[in-house]
């Protein structure tokens, strides 16, 4: 997983829960990297899973909620750092549609070793938008948070329903976005 996810996670933990909580989390997680991350590096995604689990124990906040909150934060970071991608789309749905065909194509050029999740979509006649997330890592909550942050960028509001499933080693989530 790309370093930016780790450094942003550390930033979030430190700012929301303080330096001590962060240090407690790191000590409890006992990571092979010692929690020493740089945005230009690449790290094992299990370290992130471990940190979130330890943070949940310390803060008594559920893991999914933590990850989703992190997704919200990461979304803001993305639209601040990579504004161009967001400017190219007129709204949330158009942006989501462009992830697989455009954004991830460009990301793969920049980071040939990046393992990217797949975002398929379908528009229903009733106006609902169906997004199908699938990844070996199972960060559906992160995706959820990112979708919320994105709609925030476009100042749009959707009610988001989701259904998770696992097929073999692939985590799948069916998001349904309805304008509200």
């Amino acid at each position: 997983m790309k370093g930016i996810v780790f450094t942003e996670f550390m930033e979030l933990v430190e700012s929301k829960f303080g330096e001590d909580t962060m240090e407690d989390m790191l000590e409890a997680a006992d990571l092979s990297s010692d929690g020493s991350y740089t945005s230009v590096g690449t790290y094992d995604h299990n370290e992130l899973v471990k940190m979130v689990e330890e943070l949940s124990k310390i803060t008594k906040v559920d893991v999914p909620d933590l990850i989703k909150a992190f997704g919200n934060h990461l979304g803001v970071v993305f639209y601040t750092k990579f504004t161009t991608f967001f400017e190219q789309a007129d709204g949330t749905l158009e942006f989501l549609k462009s992830i697989d065909d455009h954004i991830h194509v460009e990301v793969a050029k920049l980071y040939p070793d990046a393992e990217l999740p797949v975002f398929a979509y379908k528009e229903h006649e009733d106006g609902s938008f169906h997004l199908f997330y699938s990844s070996t890592r199972g960060f559906s909550d992160l995706a959820h948070g990112l979708i919320e942050a994105t709609s925030g960028y476009y100042k749009e509001s959707f009610s988001i329903e989701r259904e998770d499933s696992i097929e073999g080693s692939t985590h799948k989530t069916h998001f349904v976005l309805t304008p509200s």
Binding site: D20, E23, D34, G35, S36, Y37, T38, S39, V40, G41
Partner: protein, 574 residues
């Protein structure tokens, strides 16, 4: 925060920084290496592009010069083949004019036809190589298409007859004779289309018709031959492309005829269309723009009219180094009633004109010792164009070439192989036609001459103009009698031959006899007979055979009349 945690944190940050730096260093090294590779690659590519462009240019130049060498070779070879072939054909033509047995006539006729076929193949190849090299020049002039078409059709009649196919022609009664065309190329178009039609038709007829609308001349050649499919039609105008490979095996041919035909038609601003049905026959339609008759110069009309005939006797100097060409030209000139002296080169020509006054000089260009152009330049220092006309004879028929010889002081230009009508047309500008002279004589000197001959002498000989006849031989009765006797001898032969040919519907042979009879009639001033013979001949040339019997009986009636008159005259004057 405890000191321990702070230390850890600093440690962590330092580790991250060093890691980041290492990644950055690795990446920048990688970037540098990639960059270097890219630069090398792009330099290599550029070198390769330069090299390949160079290679391509060499290959292209080689291909071009190979094509050029090929075209030149073909043009030269065709030329080399054409020259001796023309010699052969000329000699065969002359032989055919001599007394031959039927067998010999047939054999020589076959040899002549084969030679003509070979010549047409060589000509096609030569034309095509010229077209390919972009050197083909079309020389548009007001052209008498009707007589050109008639002449071409009658020339092809023997092929039709041999195959037992009817070759029918339809010309409109009122037709502007002149259209804007290159006569040489127009004849080629006609010959190609009609001989193709004859070639692919095994029974039935080939119809040639001419129509005229407001602005266009339309030629239609229709056959009842093997026909073509849509796909085959698409192929026939391609060079070397016949309808399919089996055509070449069955019918032969170069596959160039229609390519050349289409090119000429394009060049003359016309178009050609084809319709065909397999097994039913094909129809080719050529449309050419018409030119207004006002645009014609009087000279052109005059020249076209007097294409065939005899001149008032004159002396001509023929300058030519090749014996074969000398003989052909001499024969043609003699036939037109001209006396010929021969010079073998330019130097001999200059010596000859110092000794004698010639009416016209016919000058070959490429000769040993002194060439035609050089000789002309020397002659022109002393004799003007008006005083001594010089007509160039050359195998090169392009406009540039013609312009060049004219600029060197020659009066006109005829192309070799010499075509009878072209030669006579050129000569007509400087010599007087016999007919013209007759007209002049009639207008000028009726009174004085008539008085010399007793009136009683002139009135009783129906069909003979004794006054004119005697005047032609300067009033020498003895000589006139000799002419009459000679006519009497040949008339028996002509009438027997003519009867035979006409009953066998051998039109070309009939035309030849009529032509000869007309000449003999004119010699003795049997004017009515000459005139009728000429009408008869023209009718046959036009391929209209409806009134043959009527014309034939009138001819023999006039002939008998002349015979009895001349016998009576001979009886009284011997």
């Amino acid at each position: 925060m405890s000191e321990e945690r702070l230390r850890k944190r600093v440690q962590r940050e330092k580790k991250a920084r060093m890691e980041a730096e290492k990644i950055l260093e690795d990446k920048s090294r990688e970037l540098y290496e990639r960059n270097t590779q890219l630069k090398e690659l792009s330099e290599n590519l550029e070198k390769q592009v330069v090299q390949r462009t160079q290679d391509l240019k060499v290959a292209h130049d080689k291909a071009l010069s190979a094509v050029k060498a090929k075209s030149e070779f073909i043009a030269n070879m065709s030329h080399e083949i054409r020259t001796p072939l023309n010699g052969v054909l000329g000699m065969l033509t002359m032989t055919l004019d001599t007394q031959l047995t039927e067998k010999q006539k047939k054999w020589i006729g076959n040899a002549f036809n084969s030679g003509q076929h070979l010549l047409s193949v060589v000509n096609d190849i030569l034309d095509f190589s010229k077209i390919e090299a972009g050197k083909m020049v079309i020389q548009m002039e007001a052209t008498d298409v009707i007589s050109l078409t008639r002449g071409t059709v009658s020339g092809l009649r023997s092929i039709a007859k041999e195959k037992g196919i009817e070759l029918a022609c339809q010309f409109p009664k009122q037709f502007p004779s002149y259209i804007d065309a290159d006569p040489l190329r127009f004849r080629q178009i006609l010959t190609n289309l009609i001989s193709n039609a004859l070639k692919f038709t095994s029974e039935g007829s080939v119809n040639v018709s001419i129509k005229q609308t407001q602005e266009r001349y339309t030629l239609k050649v229709e056959d009842a031959g093997i026909g073509m499919s849509e796909k085959q039609i698409g192929r026939i105008f391609n060079a070397f492309g016949q309808a399919d490979g089996s055509i070449t095996r069955q019918f032969g041919g170069t596959g160039l005829g229609l390519t050349i035909t289409q090119y000429f038609i394009d060049m003359m601003g016309g178009n050609i269309t084809v319709s065909s049905e397999k097994g039913r026959g094909s129809c080719f339609i050529v449309e050419l723009p018409l030119v207004e008759q006002d645009a014609l110069s009087k000279e052109q009309q005059l020249r076209a009219v007097s294409a065939d005939g005899r001149f008032e006797s004159a002396e001509v100097l023929l300058v030519e180094d090749l014996i074969v060409n000398q003989e052909i030209a001499e024969y043609l000139l003699n036939r037109a009633n001209l006396k010929v002296d021969i010079a073998n080169n330019g130097k001999e020509a200059i010596e000859a004109i110092e000794k004698k006054d010639y009416s016209v000089v016919l000058m070959d260009l490429q000769m040993p010792v002194l060439g035609g152009i050089e000789a002309t330049e020397i002659i022109r220092k002393k004799y003007s164009k008006e005083k001594l006309p010089i007509i160039a004879m050359t195998a090169h028929a392009t406009k540039e070439h013609k312009d060049e010889v004219l600029s060197k002081g020659m009066n006109d230009h005829v192309s070799k192989p010499i075509e009878t009508s072209e030669l006579y047309r050129a000569l007509a500008a400087f010599l007087t036609f016999e007919q013209d002279k007759e007209l002049k004589d009639k207008n000028k000197e009726p009174a004085t001459e008539k008085q010399q001959v007793p009136t009683s002498d002139t009135q009783n000989y129906a069909g003979l103009d004794i006054v004119q006849g005697l005047a032609r031989v300067s009033g020498k009765t003895g000589f006139y009698c000799r002419l009459l006797r000679s006519f009497h001898d040949s008339y028996q032969k002509y009438s027997a031959n003519l009867k035979r040919h006409l009953s066998a519907q051998e039109w070309d042979e009939s035309i030849a006899v009529l032509h000869a009879l007309r000449g003999s009639s004119l010699n003795i001033s049997a004017n009515e007979l000459a005139e009728h013979t000429s009408t008869f001949e023209r009718t046959l040339r036009d391929a209209s055979y409806d009134n043959v019997l009527e014309l034939e009986s009138k001819l023999f009636k006039l002939g008998e009349q002349v015979e009895s008159s001349l016998l009576e005259y001979l009886a009284q004057h011997q």
